[in-house]
Subunit: 462 residues, 2 copies
C-alpha cells in the first residue's frame, strides 16, 4: 500500500524515532483545540528538524499523493490541523530556534516551532515586544499562529499577526523552497507573497523560517474596569471612546453570562449583577496614558458606567486574570464549548450583541459572549454537550444564524480563528462563488494535487 511505502521513505529520510506510527501517538495528533469536530487519525506523524527534511517530506507526500497536514501546537479553533483525510501530520515543534534578534532593525528571525512567549522573553531584554497575543501565547508556535494569522487582545491598537510578519522562507507543494520579504520596512517587490502565505492555514506552502517586526515596549499602561447595567450602554461606550480619538491597547467585553461564570470559577469579586463589563487598557508614555485614561473614564461615566481603575500591578493582574478566565470558566460549565469569532464593524457591536441574545433565546442555547470589543471581534461561546444530538442540532442552527447576522452587519466569518474546515460551509456568504473561485485558482496554482492540508479553506473543485 502506497501509504506504507511512503512511511518507509519518511523513516529513511528522518530518523526512525522522529516518525511516529503507534496508535497512541497517532491519537495525540488526531484533533486540535476545536470543539464539536470529529477526530481523525493520521497514518504517521513526522517531526522534521530542518528545512531540507521538510522538503524531503513534501516530496514523498507528493510522490504518493498523500495528504500532508502541517501543525505547531494545535491550539487553533477552526479544525485547521485535524488531518481530515489522514495521511501525514508534520509537526514543526522541533524547529524551534530563535535564529536572531536584530534590535537595530527591530526584527527577529525564528524557526516556526518557537513558542510566541519564548520570542517575547528573548526580546524583552532589548526593551522590545512582539505584539500579537492570542490567548494561547504560552503554547502556540510562531509558525502556527502565522499560518492561522492569529489575533488576540491587542488587535485594535497594534494589529494582528499579519502586520508583524516581514519575511518568510516557504517550502512549496513541489518541494522547492524560496524566500520572500525580509528585514526592510518597505517592500513592494511583486505580489505580496508574505501576506498570501500568512493566514493560508498550511494549504499553500510550509513556513520554515520567519522574520518578524518588533516594536518598543510601551513605557507604562493603565487598566480600567467599567460596569454597565445595560449592555447597550457598553456598546455606546466603545463607540464613544473611539470617537474621543483614544485607541486603547485593549478593550474587552464580557456579558452577564460570562461575568457570572467567571466569578463562580475564580471568585475575584466581579459584580454578578452587571449586564456587561468593559475591561480597557491604555498604554504608552506616562503623560499620554494619564490623559487617555481620563478620557476613557469620562466616556464610561457619560454612558452610565461605573469605573474601577487598577491602582497597582496586583490590581491590574487581577482584572486581566478575570478576562483570561473567561474561556476556561465557560468551558468548565459544560462538556462542550463551541467558541466562535464572528466579527463586525465596531459600530455594529450593540446590534451584534442584541442579535446573539435573541439567537440564544430562539434556539434555547446558553451563550456567553466575551471578546475584543474594540475591534468588533466577539466570541459568542455556546455551552452544550456534544453527546446530546438534539441539543447540538439547535447549537448548529444558532451558529449558522450568528454568522448570517455577522455578514448582514457588514462583518466577517472570522476575525482571528480562520476558516479551517469548521467554517468552509459559510464561505460563499462572505466571498460569493466568484471569490471562492479566486481562492481555488490560487490553491490549484500552487498545490494542484491538494497535498497540503486538504479539506481546509477551499473546497476542491470538480
Amino acid at each position: 500500500m502506497s501509504r506504507q511505502q511512503a512511511i518507509q521513505e519518511l523513516i529513511q529520510c528522518c530518523d526512525r524515532e522522529r516518525v511516529l506510527t503507534s496508535v497512541e501517538d497517532l491519537a495525540c495528533y488526531s484533533f486540535d483545540a476545536t470543539a464539536d469536530m470529529a477526530a481523525q487519525r493520521p497514518d504517521a506523524v513526522v517531526i522534521p528538524v530542518n528545512t531540507e527534511e521538510v522538503q524531503a517530506v513534501v516530496r514523498i507526500c507528493g510522490k504518493y499523493k498523500i495528504p500532508l497536514n502541517v501543525r505547531g501546537s494545535g491550539t487553533n479553533l477552526s479544525g485547521g490541523t485535524v488531518p481530515l483525510h489522514g495521511g501525514i501530520v508534520m509537526t514543526m515543534q522541533r524547529m524551534n530556534k530563535i535564529i536572531e534578534v536584530d534590535a537595530e532593525n527591530l526584527t527577529a528571525t525564528v524557526e516556526p516551532g518557537v513558542i510566541i512567549q519564548s520570542l517575547n522573553n528573548a526580546v524583552a531584554p532589548h526593551g522590545l515586544i512582539y505584539p500579537p497575543d492570542p490567548g494561547t501565547v504560552t503554547t502556540a508556535t510562531m509558525g502556527g499562529s502565522t499560518a492561522e494569522c492569529s489575533g488576540g487582545l491587542r488587535g485594535l491598537k497594534y494589529g494582528v499577526t499579519k502586520h508583524y510578519i516581514m519575511g518568510l522562507e516557504v517550502v512549496l507543494a513541489n518541494g522547492e523552497k524560496f524566500r520572500c520579504g525580509g528585514k526592510t520596512v518597505k517592500n513592494v517587490t511583486a505580489y505580496d507573497l508574505v501576506k498570501l502565505f500568512t493566514g493560508s492555514e498550511g494549504t499553500l506552502g510550509i513556513i520554515t523560517e520567519l522574520t518578524v517586526k518588533l516594536i518598543p515596549a510601551p513605557e507604562t499602561r493603565k487598566s480600567m474596569l467599567a460596569l454597565f447595567d445595560r449592555i447597550d450602554d457598553a456598546g455606546k461606550t466603545i463607540a464613544g471612546i473611539i470617537a474621543a480619538q483614544v485607541i486603547p491597547a485593549t478593550m474587552e467585553i464580557m456579558d452577564r453570562t460570562t461575568i457570572e461564570t467567571v466569578e463562580a470559577y475564580a471568585k475575584i469579586g466581579l459584580p454578578t449583577d452587571a449586564a456587561a463589563v468593559l475591561l480597557i487598557e491604555v498604554d504608552g508614555n506616562p503623560i499620554s496614558v494619564a490623559k487617555e485614561a481620563a478620557s476613557v473614564e469620562k466616556v464610561c461615566k457619560q454612558f452610565n458606567g461605573k469605573v474601577q481603575v487598577a491602582k497597582t500591578d496586583a490590581e491590574r493582574d487581577k482584572l486581566w486574570a478575570a478576562r483570561r478566565a473567561a474561556l476556561p470558566a465557560l468551558a468548565r460549565k459544560s462538556p462542550t464549548t463551541v467558541l466562535e469569532d464572528a466579527t463586525v464593524p465596531r459600530s455594529q457591536i450593540p446590534a451584534m450583541l442584541a442579535a446573539i441574545q435573541e439567537i440564544s433565546q430562539k434556539y434555547n442555547v446558553l451563550i456567553g459572549t466575551f471578546g475584543h470589543a474594540g475591534d468588533g471581534n466577539l466570541h459568542p461561546t455556546i455551552l452544550c454537550d456534544e453527546r446530546n444530538a438534539e441539543e447540538m442540532e439547535r447549537v448548529h442552527q444558532a451558529v449558522d444564524e450568528i454568522f448570517r447576522v455577522a455578514i448582514s452587519l457588514g462583518g466577517t466569518l472570522s476575525g482571528e480563528h480562520g476558516i479551517g474546515s469548521a467554517k468552509m460551509k459559510y464561505l460563499e456568504w462572505e466571498l460569493g462563488a466568484t471569490g471562492i473561485d479566486v481562492l481555488r485558482r490560487i490553491k490549484e496554482a500552487l498545490d494542484p494535487d491538494y497535498i497540503l492540508n486538504p479539506g481546509k479553506i477551499v473546497p476542491r473543485g470538480n
Copy 2:
C-alpha cells in the same frame, strides 16, 4: 482587424466621447512618470464611469485578446502604466466619488479615481487622516496608489498603503467582480486577497472600490533639521534614534549633491557645505512630542549633528519645502532623471550610502541621494541625458550595481515604486527562479491570457 472591432464595441458600451482614439489623445496615455522608458501608444483610451462599464471593457478585451492597461494619474515610477503592447488604456479618473466617510468605524469608502489629497480633505473635518503620503498626494489616485502600494515619507511610523486598505471590490480578467475584506479591523477569512490585489500593479484584477482605514490626526508635531559633516555620522544618528526607541513620523536624508541642488533651486538657506542633512519630524500629543524631540536632538548631537528646530509653522513648512524640492531640483539639473528606490534594512543605510558614492565614481555618473532614511528606502537619483547613448550605458550599469548591492545588503528591489517593467530583469535576484515561478502561477491562475497589464512584474512563461 480585431482591435478595430474591439474599439467599436467599446464605443457601443461606453459613450463615444469616453473612447479616445485621436493621435493626440493616445500620445497623452503613452507614457508615465518613469524616466528612461520608451513611450508606447495604446490603440484606444476608455474612460469608464461605473463598475458595470469596467466589466464590459474587460470582457471585450478578453474576447479579442487585447491588452488592457488600467491607470489612474500615471504618476508611477517603474513603467507600470505604459501600454507596452498597445491595446486599451482604461483610465479610472472619472470614477472619483467618495462614497462614505465612516468616522465611527474609522473607515472611508471611495472609488479608485479619488485623488489621495481629496480623501484627506474630506476626512480632515472629522479629525482623521489617511496616512499614506507618496510625493504625489495631490495628483495620484487611490486606485493607482493601491495598485502600486505606494509608500512615502511617513512609512516608518505609519506604514504604507497596504496597511490601510481594508476592503476591495475587484473586477477579474474574466469580467466577474467580487468583494473581499471590509470594515472590520480583523478579518482572516481565507487567503488575504485584499493584500494580494494591493500592489499587484493591475496585473491580477481591476480595483473598482476601496475601503480604507483612517486614524486620528496627530495632535501636534515638531520638525528638526540636523546637519552633518560626515555622511557616516548621519547614518549612525538614524540607528541611534531608533535605538533610543523613538519612532519619528518621518526621518529623511539628503546628501550633499541633493543639498547643493535644492539650495541652488529654492534658495532657502540650506548649508551647502554639509555632507548630509537629516530632516526629522515627531508627532503625537504635545508631551510625548516634546520628549521625543529632545531625544532626537540628543542623539543628533552625540553624532556631531548641528540641529535646527522649527519654532513656527512657517519654519516647519520651509524645512519640508526643501525636502519636497529634492526631486524637482535634481530633475531641473539634467534632461533625464533616473530615480530608483532601492531599499535596505535600516542598519545598512551607511553601507548603502557609501556604495552609492563608489558606484557614482566608478561609472562616472552624477548621483544625488535623498529618501526615507528611517525605513531604509533611499532614492539614488542619477542625473543624465537619455540622448547620450554612451552615458546611458554607464547609467544602466550603475543602476544594475545599485540593485545588486541593495540585495546583497539584505534589501529589496523596490521600497515603494514597484516592479512594473523597469525592474523585471532584476526580479530573479530577489525571489529566485522558484519565487518567479510562484508569481507566474498566480498570474496565470487569475489571468491566463495575460490580458491585464501584460509585460509587467511577471515575465510570461513559455
